[in-house]
């Protein structure tokens, strides 16, 4: 079930269609001047609300209230710039009759790349403002004001409403950005707080174990020193044994009848004996 009330505004008449496809709700009213449109639109919304839920409003403007043009020889600009170009050159393309116009334009197929043609449409801004005011008075969200029939992609919202919506979008984006930034900051602060808390816990645990750690490190150092000392003395004893064994071997090989003049018995080097016969 659609909750969008579709309103068609044509010359002097306004027709509203709402409700589901199976049980449609329709109402027609006549209006003489744009200023009546605000009140009538609000009443139509209220009337529909008595039977159906209405959450949004979409207004279609009949051909009799529009000026349609197909513009050619336009400079190749982006769609937004095209819309701005047509709006600024309104008197050039549309009859004004002393009224401000709400305009819109879109490129026709193949128009944006080179000098192509665009479809442009305009309506009295007073009428568009009256529709916006009616939606505001209802109150209901106005989805768009579109030209009827082939008005696909065109919007006739008045400039003030467009600006208001643009500001709203920007504000929403800014709020979203701020919220995201705030979320990041809060998250980082929470992480920082958790890290600091963990750091304090580890620090206090380290402080508790500091004395034990120092004692153990000192004990380890002393144990290593003691082991090195025992090993050094053991090595010296083994060396002494080797030296004595070498000396014993030297004595055994010496001839009985010699007079030593000089002998050198280095532990690691070659044995040097200078001997004289007795």
């Amino acid at each position: 079930m659609s909750a969008v009330l579709k309103v068609r505004v044509s010359a002097g008449q306004i027709e509203a269609r709402g409700g589901a496809a199976s049980a449609p709700w329709t109402m027609q009213r006549a209006f003489a001047a744009p200023v009546e449109l605000t009140q009538i639109l609000a009443e139509l919304v209220q009337a529909c609300r008595e039977h159906h839920r209405v959450r949004a409003l979409r207004v279609e403007v009949g051909a009799a209230l529009l000026q349609r043009r197909t513009l050619s020889d336009l400079p190749p600009v982006r769609p937004a710039a095209l819309r701005e170009l047509v709006a600024r050159s309104g008197p050039r393309y549309f009859r004004q009759n002393g009224h401000s116009l709400t305009t819109d334009a879109i490129w026709l197929r193949g128009g944006a790349g080179g000098r192509g043609s665009a479809r442009a449409v305009a309506m009295d801004e007073v009428l568009a403002e009256a529709i916006v005011a009616g939606a505001r008075a209802a109150p209901v969200r106005l989805l768009d004001i579109v030209p009827g029939e082939d008005g696909c992609g065109l919007s006739l919202l008045p400039a003030t409403e467009r600006a208001r919506r643009h500001r709203g979008t920007m504000l929403s984006l800014a709020r979203l950005g701020t919220a995201v930034a705030a979320l990041w900051v809060v998250t980082l602060l929470i992480v920082l707080a958790l890290l600091s808390r963990r750091e304090r816990a580890v620090g206090s645990e380290l402080a508790r174990l500091a004395a034990a750690r120092s004692a153990i490190v000192e004990a380890r150092r002393q144990v290593h020193q003691a082991a090195a000392m025992v090993e050094a003395i053991g090595r010296a004893e083994r060396r002494r044994t080797v030296v004595l064994s070498r000396l014993a071997d030297t004595v055994l090989v010496l001839p009985k009848q010699v007079v030593l003049r000089e002998a050198m018995v280095p532990v690691d080097g070659p044995l040097l004996l200078v001997e004289l016969p007795r």
Binding site: T178, L189, E199, L209, E231, A232, A236, R240, R261, P266
Partner: protein, 190 residues
């Protein structure tokens, strides 16, 4: 103040807040977080190392107990004295005693420079000159080797005092012994 002014003010405030956030608060927060994380990792390593040490305490106690017995057994094998001079005196005394028993005469005992240390032990290296015959020299070295104090003859040099003496003359040698031993500088064993 128009709505346009308010909008401009809001935009300006937003820009200032954004700039402060991205140029000051953001980098500060990043630096602080990085530093805190690095400190935490370092402390974690230290803590796990400490916990490992504490867990190894029984093994350390066992090793210390066994080593204590071994270290206590070292005392008789060291030269007496808490400095190199007194250790040299102890070495000279032991050498004189041994020399007296083997018909030798101690001519001199001099300490040589030696800065070797192992743990708390210091090594003493000395050159001793004795006058004796070949048999006496061998006996002295053998007696030093049998002693409880670990004295290592690093080199032995024998020189005949009178190379021109005839066969009927008694053998007289000058024995130069390069000896090393260990002593404990300081007060006591660990």
């Amino acid at each position: 103040m128009t709505s346009r002014d308010r909008h401009a003010l809001r935009l300006g405030a937003l820009l200032v807040a954004g700039a402060l956030l991205s140029l000051r608060a953001g980098p500060w927060l990043h630096r602080t977080l990085t530093a805190t994380r690095a400190r935490l990792i370092e402390q974690h390593h230290l803590l796990s190392e400490t916990q490992r040490l504490v867990a190894e305490l029984p093994i350390l106690e066992d090793s210390a107990g066994r080593l204590a017995g071994l270290v206590a057994g070292l005392a008789p094998r060291l030269l007496a004295g808490y400095e190199s001079g007194t250790a040299l005196g102890d070495l000279a005394g032991r050498l004189s005693t041994v020399a007296g028993r083997h018909r030798a005469e101690v001519l001199s005992v001099d300490a040589l420079p030696d800065s070797t240390t192992v743990g708390q032990l210091g090594r003493l290296t000395a050159r001793a000159r004795l006058a004796t015959d070949f048999r006496g020299a061998v006996d002295i070295v053998a007696a030093l080797g049998r002693g409880t104090v670990v004295l290592v003859p690093e080199a032995i040099r024998l020189v005949a005092q009178d190379p021109a003496a005839g066969p009927e003359a008694s053998e007289r040698l000058e024995v130069e012994l390069l000896l090393s031993g260990w002593y404990l500088p300081g007060e006591s064993l660990p």
